[in-house]
């Protein structure tokens, strides 16, 4: 059984990038009454997003592999998403991560970039969450229900919106 899982694991990366021809975009921004450093600390802590993201029930212990750090997020709505941290830059306060194939959020080849910028005053921040991804269905239309662009856009859009809204609440707590 372990061998079968290991072989299957080899195939996942090969399939992971065979996306279709039309990328989708999510881009949302929120203003937060908290210093950038405090907000960045919450985002940068890749293994603890459940402390501020309301859609996340729990996160597995971080796994360090040859090619990076991985986590499995379990959603309150059910299902998991396996994700890899690409980079976390303290100078730019920018975190980049990707979601692996077959997760509970119906999008493929998702790469998200979250950037914290200084707000109007010292105690304020602005967070920009940008993502690029494709619909789940990779073949010629007709597209099965739940695997189209609209489903991907709704699921990702809702996930980002919920995350930013609650990040604001958590960060603003004194």
């Amino acid at each position: 059984m372990k061998k079968l899982l290991a072989i299957t694991a080899l195939f996942i990366p090969l399939l992971a990038f065979a996306h279709g021809p039309t990328p989708q975009k999510v881009e949302q921004e929120i203003a937060i009454d908290a210093p950038p450093a405090k907000v960045w600390a919450l985002i940068k802590d890749f293994g603890n997003w459940q402390t501020w993201h309301p859609a996340i029930a729990s996160i597995s212990k971080l796994e360090t592999k040859d090619d990076g750090v991985y986590r499995t997020i379990t959603l309150k709505s059910g299902g998991t998403v396996y994700e890899k941290l690409r980079s976390a830059d303290d100078t730019e306060m920018k975190l980049k991560y990707e979601a692996e194939e077959g997760g509970a959020i119906p999008a493929s080849d998702y790469v998200g970039t979250i950037t914290v910028k200084a707000g109007a005053t010292a105690g304020q921040s602005s967070v920009l969450w940008f993502g690029r991804y494709y619909r789940v269905y990779k073949l010629n239309p007709p597209i099965p229900e739940g695997q189209d662009d609209e489903s991907a856009n709704k699921a990702v859009g809702d996930f980002v919106a919920a995350g930013l809204a609650n990040l604001k609440i958590v960060a603003e707590k004194k």
């Binding site: 990038f17 065979a18 279709g20 021809p21 039309t22 990328p23 975009k25 881009e27 980049k96 790469v111 940008f130 690029r132 073949l139 010629n140 239309p141 662009d149």
Partner: protein, 316 residues
């Protein structure tokens, strides 16, 4: 004795310069339209509604036509570049991405993404002339300047198909890096440039196009390339930058910061500038090719891709 050529030649050159600057056609995949940019003024002079999710573009100066691939609309919009109107929409059997014209603009090639084939249209009557079976997820398309070949980047086969247009068959499949996507060529047509997205390299295939002759490391998740007289410019979609490679030495001489997720790139010979479509910023960056500095940014539509030769190449 009056030297006639001293009078006529400058007048001819002035006339050529005044007529010579072609527009840039930027496909906006998110807003389903095309931004037409006057490259001398650095301004959008028209926004033309096309089909659903346009991406690919090929421009013919001699025919005054721009051909746009509507990926989700599964059609080609034909734009009359003088009136800036869509004069024809060619319905296709499948989703198109890459489009390219042959050397004399008599043929339009369309890559059918899901069907692993290239369909050749007669640009006079839009009829299908031939079809070529190529590799998986055919993406970048480019015709050789001498009229002999069509090159096809087969993204999921990791190779370039060389189609012999006289014989009407695929004459060669050349293995390149992982996930080849965009294609470009040197101004004299002797070097074919292939951008490998996952390998993060540029493969060079020199004439007679039988093998890879050089491989150069570029930036993160590169998509497309364009050539000036002395350099090759490559867009790094996840580095938000353009790698500049000296065409003779093959060394990366600089990395220019551009916008978010830069994709399509083209060289404007008339102004010696490079145009880059930034998918993530809904705009175009303009680079001065003489010093590789950013000149300006021009707002376009949503999710600008400009995949293909979106500025007509200088006549040769």
């Amino acid at each position: 004795m009056i030297r006639l050529e001293l009078i006529l030649l400058p007048l001819i050159l002035i006339a050529q310069t005044a007529l010579a600057a072609p527009d840039a056609y930027i496909t906006n995949q998110g807003s389903h339209n095309v931004s037409v940019i006057d490259i001398a003024q650095h301004q959008v002079v028209a926004t033309i509604a096309v089909g659903k999710a346009p991406a690919g573009v090929a421009v013919s100066e001699r025919q005054h036509r721009a051909y746009i691939s509507n990926v989700e609309g599964q059609s080609i919009s034909v734009i009359d570049t003088q009136t800036r109107q869509v004069i024809k929409e060619i319905a296709l059997a499948s989703a198109p991405l890459g489009v390219a014209l042959n050397a004399d603009d008599s043929r339009l090639f369309v890559a059918y993404w899901y069907d692993d084939k290239i369909v050749e249209f007669n640009t006079a009557d839009y009829r299908i002339v031939r079809e070529f079976n190529v590799g998986k997820s055919p993406s970048g398309l480019l015709a050789s300047l001498d009229g002999h070949y069509l090159f096809v980047a087969n993204r999921d086969s990791n190779d370039v198909a060389v189609v012999d247009l006289s014989k009407g068959e695929v004459s060669n499949r050349i293995t390149v890096g992982e996930h080849p996507f965009g294609l470009a060529q040197s101004l004299d047509g002797s070097q074919l440039y292939v951008v490998n997205v996952h390998a993060e390299t540029l493969s060079i295939i020199a004439a007679p196009y039988t093998a890879v002759t050089a491989t150069i490391k570029v930036g993160a998740h590169p998509y497309c390339a364009a050539a000036s007289a002395d350099s090759i410019y490559v867009t790094n979609t996840e580095g938000d930058s353009v790698s500049v490679i000296n065409a003779a030495s093959h060394l990366v001489t600089s990395t220019i910061k551009v916008g978010n997720v830069p994709e399509g790139i083209a060289y404007a010979a008339a102004t010696n500038q490079i145009y880059v479509a930034n998918w993530g910023d809904d705009n175009v960056s303009v680079i001065d090719a003489s010093n590789n500095k950013l000149i300006t940014q021009i707002a376009t539509g949503a999710q600008s891709r400009a995949f293909g030769q979106f500025i007509a190449a200088a006549p040769h």
